[in-house]
Amino acid sequence: MFKRSLLAGLSLALIFSLVVFSMPSSSRAADATATLTPAPTATPVVSDLGSGGTHIAFWNGLTGSDGDTLNAMLATFVKENPSISITTEEIDWGTLYPKLTAAFVGGEPPDMFIVHVAEIPYYLKQGVIQPNDDLFDTNGGPLPAKDFAEPAYSNTVVDGKHYGVLLDNHGYGTWVNNDLLTKAGLDPKVQPKSGAETLAMLQKLTIDKNGKNAADPAFDATNVVQWGTAIDWPHYMFQSLLFQFGGTVISADGKKATINSKAGVDALQTIYDWVYKYHVAPPPAGFDSWVSFQTGKVAILTTGTWFRNRIASVPTIHWTAWPMLQVGPQPGVMFGAHIMLIPANTTGDKLTAVKKLMVWVSNHNADWAASGQVPARISIRDGLDPKSYPSNIAIGQSYQVGGHMEAPSPSSLDIGNAEDPELSAVLANQKTPQQGLDDAAKRIQAILDRQ
C-alpha cells in the first residue's frame, strides 16, 4: 500500500511538472491580472539572406529584438546587392566570445563580426583583425569620420589605423512608469537631480501590502507589492554610479586596479543601501526586473537602451525615458558601442563585399535606431523623430554629457568577469561593499599584471 502510494505520489509530482512545462510562462505568473502581451518572438539563430555568389558569414551577439532589426536591414541590403548573400548567426554574447576565439584558433572565423569597441585591443593583440582605413574620408573613403560620435570613434583608431565601423552607442538609461509616478503624486517629466531627491522619490514609489510607502515608519519591508526601482544589471548600474562619484575601474594607463577607491565604495554602498537599508529595490539575484516593470511591479527601471522594443510591446504600460538616475555629485552613465570588425583572413571578393556591407549599414544607421540603440552617426542620431525614438534621443544625449565607456584593454572581458561576481556577492549581502571591491581589485590587478 505504502509503495503504491509512493508510486502514485511520484507520478503525480512528475505529471504536475510536465503539465507545468507545457504551459506558457505568462500563465504561470503569480498575478493573473498582469499583462504580458504580445509574447516576444525569438530571433532566429541563423538566417540565410539572399542567394548571391559572394557569401558573407556574419556573427554577432544581437540575440534580442536588435537581431531582428539587423536582419531586416541585411535583407534590404541583399535585395539591393543581389550578387551578395549573407548568413547571420546571432549568438549569446557569453558564447560568442569563446566561439570567436575558437574559430580564430581553428583558422575558420566568420567574414565579419560585431563586438564592442572596448574589445578591439584584445583582438588586435591576437593579430586576428585587419584595419579598414580606406572606408573613411580621411583616406578617401565614403564614410565621414567626423560624423561618428566620440569617444567611441577615437577608440576605433589604434596607432593611426581604423579598425571596424561603429554601429551605435548603447548603454544605461531610465524607464519610468508614468501611471505609478502620477499615482504617487510625482511628475514623470521631472527627473530628480541628486542622490537625496532620487532616494525620496524611490521611497514614495515603494509600497507594501498595507499601502504604506518606504518612507513611512510603519512600512513592512518583508511584504512589498511595488518596488521603487530594481537593479537590472549590477555591472552597468555600478559603473554608472562609479563615474558619478568620480571613480574608474582601472587607472588611465591601464596598469592599476582602482575599482576599490572611495568613489567605488560610495557607488556600491548607495546601491547596497537601496536594497538593504531603505528597501526601495529588491536583491537583484533571482528578481526579474524587466517582467516586473512590464507588469507594473517596479516603478522606475534603470536598464539599457535595448529595453525599448520590449517595453514598446506592452501597450498597458505608459512610460517615459530619462537619462541615467543621478545619485553622485556629477552626471555619469556607462555606455558601450557595437562595432563591425573584419578578421585578418577575409580577403578578395569577400573583403570587398564585407566593406560594401559595412558602409551600407552605417549609411542606414537611422534604421538601426529601431533596435533601441543610439545611432553612431551624429547626423543621423540628431535627426531622429522624437515621437518614434524618445528613448534613443533622451538617453543618447546623456552619453554626450556624462557618458563613460569601458576602458579599452586587451583584458576588458576578463576584467568584467572578475568584477561581476564580486558585485553580485555584495548585492546578495555576502560581503560588504568595501570587501567586495577589495576582492575585485585584487583579481583585476592579477589580470593586469599578467597582461
Binding site: L10, S17, S25, T222, G286, Q430
Partner: protein, 313 residues
C-alpha cells in the same frame, strides 16, 4: 582379459597436447579479444588518452590559445591553484552539491524502483513516466526550472503562497542556491539510477523473500535484512557513478545561476570554463581539470573502500 599396464608416457603426451591446445586456444581467444578491442582502443587513445596527455602537458605551461609561444611554468599553475580562493570555494560547493545530489537521487531512485517493482497496474507506463525527465536536455531542464523557481512568477512559490509561506528566493539566496540546483538535478537524473535499482531488485532471488515471510519477517525486516544488503553492489555502482557525474556540475549552474549569487554556485567545472573559455588560460584550466580528476579518483577509491567492503555479490 589381459591386464594392460598403463605407462605414464601416453597420457602425459595427451595431457601436454591438451595443455598446448588450451594455451593456443587461450592465445587465439586473447588475440581475438585484442583485435575486437583494437578499434575502440585506437579511438580511445586518439580522442581521450591523447587529450588527457595534452591537458597534463598544458598544465605545466602558460598556454594562450592564440599565441604560438607558450611559457613553461613547471608547477606554477598548480602552485597558483592551491592559493586560489575561488578554486577552494568552487571545490567546496561542488562537494556539497555532489553529496546532496547523490544522496537525494539515490533515495528517490530507490523508492521509485521499490514501488515500480510491485505488480501494480500500468507499471510499464509509470516506468516510462518516471524515466522521462532523464531524456530532457540540460538546456530544457535549466530554463524550465528557472521559471519554476522564479521568486515572483514561479509556480513553486505560487504553491507555497497557498500555505502562507512567503516567496522564497531559491536561486538568489546563497544558502538556498545549491539545494535548489540539487533538487533540479535529482528530478532530472533520478531515472537512470532508478533503472539500475530496478534491475538490482529483480536480480534478488524470490526464494529469500519467501523464506523470510515463512519465518515471519516483517516488510521492514525484509527490506533491511534482505533487499538492502543484496542491493549493495547496485548501491555502490549508483553512488560511484552519481558522484563522478555530479562532481562535474556545469550545465545547471551555467544556465540557471551563472555561478551566482556571488560565487555561491560556482562549481569546479564552471570555474574551469571561466578560466579556459572566458580568460583563455588553457594551462591554468588544465591544472584545474587534472586536480579535479585526481580528487574524483580519490573519492571514488574511498567509496569503494567504505561501501565496497560491505558488498555481498
Amino acid at each position: 582379459m589381459s591386464n594392460t599396464i598403463v605407462t605414464g608416457s601416453a597420457p602425459a603426451a595427451t595431457q601436454q597436447a591438451t595443455r598446448r591446445f588450451q594455451i593456443n586456444l587461450r592465445r587465439r581467444e586473447s588475440l581475438a579479444a585484442y583485435v575486437f578491442l583494437l578499434p575502440f582502443m585506437f579511438f580511445f587513445c586518439l580522442f581521450v588518452v591523447r587529450g588527457v596527455a595534452a591537458a597534463v602537458n598544458m598544465s605545466f605551461y602558460d598556454w594562450d590559445v592564440l599565441s604560438p609561444v607558450h611559457k613553461y611554468l613547471g608547477l606554477g599553475n598548480y602552485n597558483e591553484l592551491i592559493n586560489d580562493d575561488i578554486w577552494w570555494l568552487s571545490l567546496k560547493n561542488t562537494l556539497i552539491f555532489a553529496v546532496m545530489t547523490v544522496a537525494g537521487s539515490s533515495l528517490v531512485a530507490l523508492g521509485a524502483a521499490l514501488a515500480l517493482n510491485q505488480p501494480v497496474r500500468g507499471r510499464g507506463f509509470f516506468r516510462v513516466l518516471l524515466y522521462a525527465p532523464s531524456l530532457l536536455s540540460a538546456g530544457v531542464v535549466g530554463t524550465t526550472w528557472v521559471w519554476l523557481l522564479n521568486t515572483q512568477f514561479g509556480i513553486v512559490n505560487y504553491a507555497l503562497h497557498f500555505f502562507g509561506i512567503p516567496a522564497i528566493n531559491w536561486l538568489g539566496d546563497s544558502n538556498l542556491v545549491l539545494p535548489a540546483l540539487s533538487l533540479t538535478t535529482i528530478w532530472w537524473t533520478f531515472g537512470f539510477p532508478m533503472l539500475l535499482f530496478l534491475a538490482g531488485l529483480q536480480g534478488i532471488p524470490t526464494l529469500f523473500y519467501e523464506a523470510a515471510r515463512i519465518d515471519g519477517a516483517s516488510p521492514r525486516q525484509i527490506f533491511f535484512y534482505i533487499t538492502l544488503p543484496l542491493l549493495r553492489p547496485t548501491i555502490l555502482f549508483v553512488t560511484v557513478l552519481g558522484f563522478i557525474s555530479h562532481m562535474q556540475l556545469f550545465s545547471q549552474n551555467f544556465i540557471m545561476t551563472t555561478g551566482g549569487p556571488g560565487y555561491a554556485s560556482y562549481s569546479v567545472i564552471y570555474y574551469l570554463y571561466q578560466i579556459a573559455w572566458k580568460s583563455f588560460r588553457m594551462g591554468y584550466g588544465s591544472a584545474v581539470a587534472i586536480l579535479l580528476a585526481a580528487i574524483i579518483v580519490i573519492f571514488t577509491a574511498l567509496q569503494f573502500i567504505l561501501i565496497g567492503r560491505r558488498v555481498q555479490y
